[in-house]
Amino acid sequence: MNIEAKLGLDVFKIDKERHITIDVEVCNRVCTDKACLYVCPAHLYEIDDQGNNTVNFEGCLECGTCLISCDHRALEWHYPRGEYGVQYRMG
């Protein structure tokens, strides 16, 4: 089962507001490693056609690994508001 299908099993209550924002300028200019691309267990980070890093925040498992792994503080990351985000049935 691929990662998208796995995430499809979880309950996500999706906010209109995004809770992760990438400072693309910092990301492009300073970061060579782009750890978020491979550390995120939900595989939410992707480089788009323009070469910019993007994140599909809707499938976020809220572990914070990307935030902790970003040496350049290029992520503005907070938990989703109450009533939103992943809701684990089992945990």
Partner: protein, 260 residues
Amino acid sequence: MDIVVSVKTNLDLQMIRIKNREPVLEAIPYKTGDLDKNAVEAALQLRDAVGDSKVIALTVAESNRKVRETIKEVLAMGADEAVLIVDPALESTDQAGVARTLAAALQKIGSYDLVLFGEGSSDDYSGQVGPRVAELLGVPQIGYARKITAGGAGVLVERSMDEFIETLEAPLPAVLTVVSEINEPRIPSLMNIMKAGKKPTEEWSLADLGLDPAAVASSCETLSNLAEEQDRKHVMLEGGAVDQAAGLVNALLKEGILGR
């Protein structure tokens, strides 16, 4: 003005998963009906506009635990008191049984000028309970309410019809069922949630209402509750975005979904 708002606790449908085509209903969290919150908000606004009024939240359930959070929520929003009808016999009731219970509860409450409902519940959305209660009580009922104004000897209600808006006047007491466009329900503050538990709450059983469990028994029996099985077409579109879009349009045309 005494305003009673009926609220329903549903399962949080988004939390339900399907196993062997059947919904897994065990340990699903509860949630207050969406339109019910609009009804509460409408009641609070009316109360504050009219003055010298109170809002009573009324709910029906098979267990206290099921409705605990809903009652807390609507009291925290600002309802003045709550009446819970709790009876194990309500586990297997239907819309007619709920309506009978609510009508009996309203009679026991005694004084009510307006009874507000959401137009339909967040689970079944059958839209039956409001009209049934009005019928049982023998009072006028207006559905699809998008604006309520108290005035004269009754209420002025704008109804949201598909293509037009109808304005009706009704004497009191009356039953109104509201749609979501009527307002944006307020989100209760933490302090109000904290204090909600201290507001007066009454709990009655069916016996307290003089109702026999048989009077609320469902007239329907659920024989099966299966998720629809759908075959996927498994069509993979190749190429760049432009080619894929063209391919998708073609595929939808071929299926007769587009261009009908």
